[in-house]
Amino acid sequence: MTAALKRLAGWFIAPAAEAERPVTARTVVASVTAVGVLGRGSAATVAATAIALTAARRARTRCALVCRWTGEEPRAAADGSALPAARALAGRLQARGLEARACGRLVAVDLPAAATEARAAIERAWAAAGEVPVTVLVAGARPAELDGVLGALDRLVVVPPPGAPAALEELAVTDAARVGRAATVLRVAPSPVARALARGGLIVPPALRGPVARVLEGRDA
């Protein structure tokens, strides 16, 4: 039908009523909103940042929370430049006495060295963060006290050091399974650009987008 015919038909035929579009802001599809990352070094830090940002995008939240346990006492650090939502969440967590700071779309909470204290801090931060996705980075020998909280997460991701042998990966995955959650492997060799993007806390490094999507879906990458 030509445009002229369409216009002519429009004089005689009422246009069909526009169907009401279903609301898709929240679906009943289960989402991955809590992820544990096991690994040390910059590879694990970059992976945790990328996972947190991806989970936030999928959950349609304005920021994400990353709780970091290194086995060392946290050092005081100032906020970086951050979005208002991240700053607000960091402020709420600081008011509870947690070592939180905002950077980009992320709020990082540095956990106390003592594992029981760290566990309490994770529980408090998670409960106070509302619907914001939570990523727990365990960057050190995993203490048994953290197993309970890791078992309550949706996914566990093992980040081996770049170039690690397959046997080490397998050992890490088997060990992670002790907490009762399936673990997947995310192999990351972060470039200086990826590290810089991770520090900014705003953008997922392009090279990591595919691998992170795969591990959030429960597949190795």
Partner: protein, 431 residues
């Protein structure tokens, strides 16, 4: 000259001593303030953890509030009165606060007038020692049970389905799911797409066998963790049908459960662990035990007519009017289903005080809302606050009444053995 020097050095020494004294005093004062802040931080931590523990205990105990007090003429030991329920929350909070070093603890429940209170406030009032003095301290935390409309994949799931099952293509499923599948398969066939069922209902026992064969949670869900135990889930093939399903399945009440499983479709229009409207003709078996006998057949008919769970309709009526056909709210809502005049008109409800008419209109309205929002909590929120508000907020509106309405109905359904999939109750720190 020497004397003068000695005198001056003597004066300097006094000055140095005074400065040192002031510095020491200041350091002592700062140390005391730092200690006080640290103690205040510990109190805040104790209050947070206690509020969380109390709210978690309430979340766990909440379904027992809605269990029948008497079963077959005998007292039901699982049933909890509201006072006992609040006591459970209070005890858990107090014990946790003490374990974390707090002694003077006050626990209160701001919404204790509600059907199922879900908020708890813990105040730690231990004094803080600053130097030799004790100053009154106060750390307060509030936790509440909230509805989560997109539960995490790690959330605990509803119980195994134990009602009647029917067969389609050699696979078992709930009867209402089968009817919905029939309609969907017919529509797909008209478009030249033939839906095949790969897998449907799997009991916990069957899942245990599968898991034993391959005990890796990455590939096989452990028993008790698979949605297939609910009788609402279908694994559909061939892959060429998946695009059609993505475009059309929601019209028939099916949603894709996980973005990474294009074959896995779950029926969400009729939540509950029992098939609705397919029990005995009296309707009693299809509805929870808290429903009065006179209402059960009406619910059964409405449920079958509009394909909405009788348990959901019943829980809603209980929350709306406690089954009082003549209820009238201050806002002007009328009858057992508490229809506002304009909504009643839109659904052709002439007499909102007529139970049969009102329940039919309620089921019709809920069918529409479930179709529109694809989620039980959102449909409930829309029934209470209006669909416009749910759209505006992109979720359950942050109105205390609506939040409480949705949480109470979900808890009521859970307590009656009809937990809602696609909705979860979680504990959050709100203050």
């Amino acid at each position: 000259m020497r004397e003068r020097l000695r005198d001056e050095s003597g004066q300097a020494l006094v000055a140095v001593l005074i400065v040192l004294g002031v510095v020491l005093l200041l350091a002592g004062g700062l140390g005391a303030i730092a200690r006080a802040l640290s103690i205040q931080g510990e109190h805040a931590r104790a209050a947070d953890l206690a509020a969380l523990a109390g709210a978690r205990a309430m979340l766990e105990a909440q379904p027992r509030l809605f269990e029948p007090a008497v079963i077959d003429g005998r007292l039901n030991p699982r049933h909890l009165g509201k006072d006992e329920y609040l006591e459970i929350g209070k005890r858990a909070a107090e014990e946790t606060a003490r374990r974390n070093g707090a002694q003077d603890v006050l626990v209160s429940f701001p919404d204790s007038d509600e059907l199922a209170p879900r908020r708890i406030v813990v105040t730690v009032r231990d004094a803080i020692k600053v130097g030799d003095k004790r100053v009154p301290g106060k750390a307060e935390a509030e936790a509440e049970v909230v509805v989560v409309t997109a539960p995490s994949v790690g959330a605990s799931l509803a119980g195994e389905y134990r009602g009647p099952l029917v067969e389609r293509q050699g696979e078992l499923m709930r009867p209402d799911v089968a009817l919905a599948f029939d309609r969907m398969a017919a529509a797909a066939a008209k478009d030249g797409v033939h839906l095949l069922i790969e897998s449907a209902y799997r009991s916990d026992a069957e899942q245990a066998v599968l898991f034993a064969r391959r005990p890796d949670p990455k590939w096989v869900a452990p028993p008790g963790k698979s949605l297939h135990r609910l009788g609402t889930e279908l694994d559909l093939k061939p892959p060429s049908a998946w695009p059609w399903l993505r475009r059309n399945a929601q019209r028939f009440g099916f949603v894709q459960r996980y973005s990474w499983e294009p074959w896995h479709w779950g029926y969400v229009r009729s939540p509950g662990s029992r098939s609705v409207g397919f029990g005995a003709p009296d309707g009693k078996r299809a509805v929870p035990s808290f429903v009065p006998d006179w209402l059960a057949p009406i619910l059964r008919r409405a449920s079958q007519r509009w394909g909405v769970s009788a348990a959901l309709l019943a829980a809603q009526l209980y929350q709306e009017s406690t089954f009082n056909p003549f209820a009238k709210s201050e806002a002007g809502a009328m009858g057992i289903a508490q229809f506002m005049p304009e909504t009643a008109r839109a659904y052709g409800l002439r007499n909102p005080y007529d139970v049969e008419q009102a329940v039919m209109a309620q089921a019709h309205y809920m069918r529409d809302l479930l179709g529109q929002f694809g989620s039980v909590p959102l449909a409930l929120a829309a029934y209470n606050a209006g669909p416009g508000n749910v759209r505006r907020y992109g979720g359950i509106p942050p109105f205390p009444e609506t939040q409480s309405y949705v949480a109470s109905i979900l808890a009521l359904l859970g307590g009656a053995g009809h937990p809602v999939l696609g909705a979860g109750l979680e504990v959050r720190l709100v203050r």
